[in-house]
Point group: C2
Chain length 161, copies 2
């Protein structure tokens, strides 16, 4: 199974939106989640660090939630970008989404010594609101299911309150 | 508003369960979330680090999800410990919970230059299953709502698959 996402939407975000601890390429301390197409699904692949444990050997829930969250917003951006006639790498600036809601079902303990693969199925609610159903696999075993509702980043995002 | 939880359930976990990146006191790289009673509610207080951003100035969703998650399992442990006749600090080993499901609604952008306060309301589903409704505040403003269903850690947790 391929271990890298070749063309990731996060590679295309403008610099000012590339600082997310989960998926920002410019955040040196962060996870650098990268999300791309894989057929009509989306994929994010991430190998947890040893410290990302719940108990030794297993991933803590917050990392899985973060993976599903950023995978969801990235998947929505991929989908709207494609709907707008663009693909990653064509030079067009992609849309940027924020998460309205995040649901995670932890199906079984997730080992932290292998790459996790998040696989997303995308549903358009309306052009500015998308729902992404995600399954997270470790060693081809389903470990978590998630759902993200992502909305196009409002211009008010940077105004507090 | 007090800025520290005085008696936290995570201080009482046995060493082998004190490694969680979110709430384990022995995980040097982690967040060290600490959860205690505050009246009949529970509380976890955490000041994000600068790198925990979505965009500069605002907390990324994964941190909020992780806070709600560990606050939920800690709150469930506090509640069952009390139901069993114990309080933090009395020397008894508390029960340990894992998360079955986690839901987060992101109400508004969350500033990352202040302490976040997670406030939990606990509901017993049955003795081994608890639901925790959590509100996350920054500067007394509600920024996120969450719900965790936590179950007593099964003995199979450490067997993969």
């Amino acid at each position: 199974m391929e271990e890298n996402v070749q063309k990731a939407i996060q590679d295309e975000y403008p610099d000012e939106f590339a600082w997310c601890y989960g998926c920002g390429r410019l955040n040196e301390a962060g996870h650098h989640f990268r999300t791309g197409w894989h057929g009509d699904k989306t994929r994010t692949i991430y190998r947890p660090l040893p410290e990302h444990m719940a108990i030794p050997g297993f991933v803590y829930g917050g990392l899985i939630a973060s993976l599903i969250d950023c995978h969801g917003t990235g998947s929505a951006a991929l989908a709207l970008h494609r709907k707008n006639g663009h693909e990653v790498g064509d030079g067009a600036e992609p849309p940027r989404f924020v998460t309205a809601s995040l649901n995670v079902d932890f199906v079984r303990p997730t080992p932290n010594d292998v790459a996790l693969i998040a696989v997303g199925t995308i549903h358009e609610v309306h052009p500015k609101k998308w729902k992404i159903e995600t399954e997270v696999f470790a060693n081809d075993t389903l470990c978590a299911r998630g759902e993200v509702v992502a909305v196009v980043m409002p211009s008010t995002f940077t105004t507090k309150g």
